[in-house]
Symmetry: C2
Subunit: 107 residues, 2 copies
Amino acid sequence: MSIQKTLDGVSVATSANVYFDGKCVSHGVTLADGRKCTVGVILPASLTFNTGAPEIMEGTAGSCEYRLDGESEWKRSAAGEKFNIPGNSKFEIRVSGEPYSYICHFG
Amino acid sequence: MSIQKTLDGVSVATSANVYFDGKCVSHGVTLADGRKCTVGVILPASLTFNTGAPEIMEGTAGSCEYRLDGESEWKRSAAGEKFNIPGNSKFEIRVSGEPYSYICHFG
């Protein structure tokens, strides 16, 4: 799977979203077709996120391990790979070493 | 001065730049006219940055205090305000409380 290095023809929000004391930072992006996503990064940490809409996490640098709600197994996802999180759910994510950069797609 | 809430018709890099253990995180942006800038955030911290090209920092959320190289005075810059840093120089910046979101223009 190839790495999506840039998002082109987009609108990017200039005010950052800061979560977990900065362990996760993102900027909102509106794609040319009107769909919204975020570009962000998770620093070395173990975090739990709640979802509203379903999310697709697409790695662009580094890697992470994640565990979906109700699952016992941790899975690894690296740059160029995606994983899906159901809506109205939660997931754990852990990063060690290099920060994990991502695009988070909604819906 | 008004706050630039979005940058439109741009290309955004999906891999984040992480400085000072995450106290500063930014994403590269290429504007429609080809000029480059970054959108980023500085968390509560006191940091020193070196410049290559001259930079213009434009606040989009929160505020900071900064001191240019060779100056004794700290100045405050808030969302909607800009300040200039000469090329091949350095500056100190300190943030307390709310993170300082910015656009960094080059050249």
